[in-house]
């Protein structure tokens, strides 16, 4: 019994170390006073300073934030509607279309949208990336919202109607406040997914538009510099904050993916 627990803990610690060591190294080296990511030389904030002077990087970050903001707002609205519709009505096509973008390899959606936009003569850029992000974020929001609805006592809506509320009043006064944590968590999740997305952006951004992940990609394809460490650290910090906030709002969120 004791030996088995020690074995389990050893295996678990190895797994956790495997998960965190790479990320820790990135963070640590972002403060390292050396161009080589090889050994610790000394503490510096130079890489962060250089980051702030890097206009391309700032522009890419601005693009990413803009896309993520628009994509999360629109996909939260549409995803909430989809979640409510899937919970309440029998729609055959909707669940398939909501879940398929999550279930298939990401690259398929990227190339399909690339063909679509080019054939329509739609200029690839911020708008095409945002449209693509909305399409794959809808599903994640819908799942969280539907889970929230499934956990809600159906008789609450009947009680509202019984008390004299019209279907719309019942939705606004009872359903919406009760699913709000799910909606908010879904919005944060959509924001995170959008700001982190690489594959779909890679195909739909076109030549002229760069998001933060695309910028990181081109930097590490050319040369590994500690500047990448710094931007990675900042991005991880942002994601961490978003996820912790989302998890506080809706603890079940962490199990939906």
């Amino acid at each position: 019994m004791r030996r088995r627990r020690i074995a389990l803990w050893t295996a678990a610690i190895v797994a956790y170390a495997f998960l965190y060591l790479p990320l820790v190294i990135v963070v640590v080296y972002s403060f390292n006073d050396s161009r080589l990511n090889a050994e610790w030389v000394g503490f510096t904030l130079d890489w962060y300073r250089k980051l702030l002077e890097n206009d391309e990087m700032i522009a890419a970050a601005g693009n990413s934030l803009l896309i993520a903001l628009v994509a999360s707002l629109v996909s939260t609205a549409l995803g909430t509607m989809a979640g409510v519709a899937m919970h309440r009505y029998r729609l055959r096509l909707l669940p398939v279309l909501v879940l398929a973008p999550i279930a298939i390899p990401e690259i398929l959606m990227g190339v399909a949208l690339l063909i679509f936009f080019v054939l329509l003569n739609f200029t690839l850029g911020l708008v095409s990336v945002a449209l693509a992000h909305i399409a794959f974020c809808i599903g994640f929001v819908a799942i969280v919202v539907r889970a929230r609805l499934a956990g809600m006592d159906e008789s609450l809506i009947e009680a509202a109607r019984d008390c004299g509320a019209t279907p719309w009043q019942a939705f606004v006064r009872v359903t919406l406040p009760l699913i709000m944590p799910g909606v908010a968590a879904g919005a944060l999740m959509a924001f995170t997914l959008s700001i982190d997305d690489f594959v779909i952006s890679f195909f739909t951004a076109g030549a002229g538009t760069v998001t933060l992940p695309l910028q990181i990609y081109s930097m590490i394809k050319i040369a590994v510099t500690p500047e990448v460490n710094a931007v990675s650290t900042l991005l991880m910090l942002l994601t961490l904050v978003l996820i912790v906030v989302a998890a506080r709002i809706s603890p079940s969120l962490l199990r939906t993916r």
Binding site: M1, L8, L19, L78, D196, V224, M236, R255
Partner: protein
Amino acid sequence: MDAHRPVSWRKWAVGGPPLAYLVVFFAIPTLIMAAASFRSPGEFGGLAPLVGEDGSLDITLESYVRLVEGTVYLEVFVKSIAYALVTTLACLALAYPLAVLIAQSPRKYRDLMLLLVILPFWSNFLIRIYAWMIILGPNAALAKAINGVRAVFGAEPVSLLFSSFAVLVCLVYVHLPFMVLPLYANLEKHDRALLDAAQDLGANAWRRFWRITFPLSLPGVYAGAALVFIPALGIFAIPDILGGPNDTLIGNLIKQQFLETRDWPFGSVLSIVLTVAALALAGLAAWIGRRGSAEVARA
């Protein structure tokens, strides 16, 4: 829930907008891509005109033929499936003890332990790949140590980076949380009394695991396998960044067709075959999983 049928206008008012959006920006693009796979590539990329100068319709199986003609592309497919399989098995081996431990931990620690598994997943995909560039880099401690040992035996130094090894390690790293979650969700539901009963009936720890815990966890194993296998099969960024010249997988091939050689029909064929293969193999796993759990239920 609403007795006052008909409610169909309400149904479409709520479900209509997301449905319309997904039809336009997901279903139609996917169908267009499927159609593109039966066309010829255009002279300057994209597609050839649907009606040619001589009035003939451009509908062809050429790209599909090209896929199966030589062995080059089939080899890439086999290699991709092999990489995805190895990744799945390695994830299973790493995730299983972890999932067991979390499921057996006191309830108040479980959420934190799970959160720690999921958090890295939420950090940027490229950053997680990039981290391995640092760890496996030629100047990093790991490579120096390995090559130091090799030098003692007179062997040539090797590069850890830009190798199949790097690709596989990173594939496992990126997909590990997908395996832990469904395994945990399954293990958490197990009735402890079953293990107590087995012990009471004389089974030792080893037998208790293989006769009780593992068979009951099979649905979780298959769910995790599907969640790891599908994305692993379509990956292109990891071999693109960490792989060597021999590490071209389907994803890289697809990327090439669209962004370099600009052969849309062939790229579409590859994408369709990739998706069908991924879903078919995942479906197979789910089917085996269901049959497996039905057998367990019968036994």
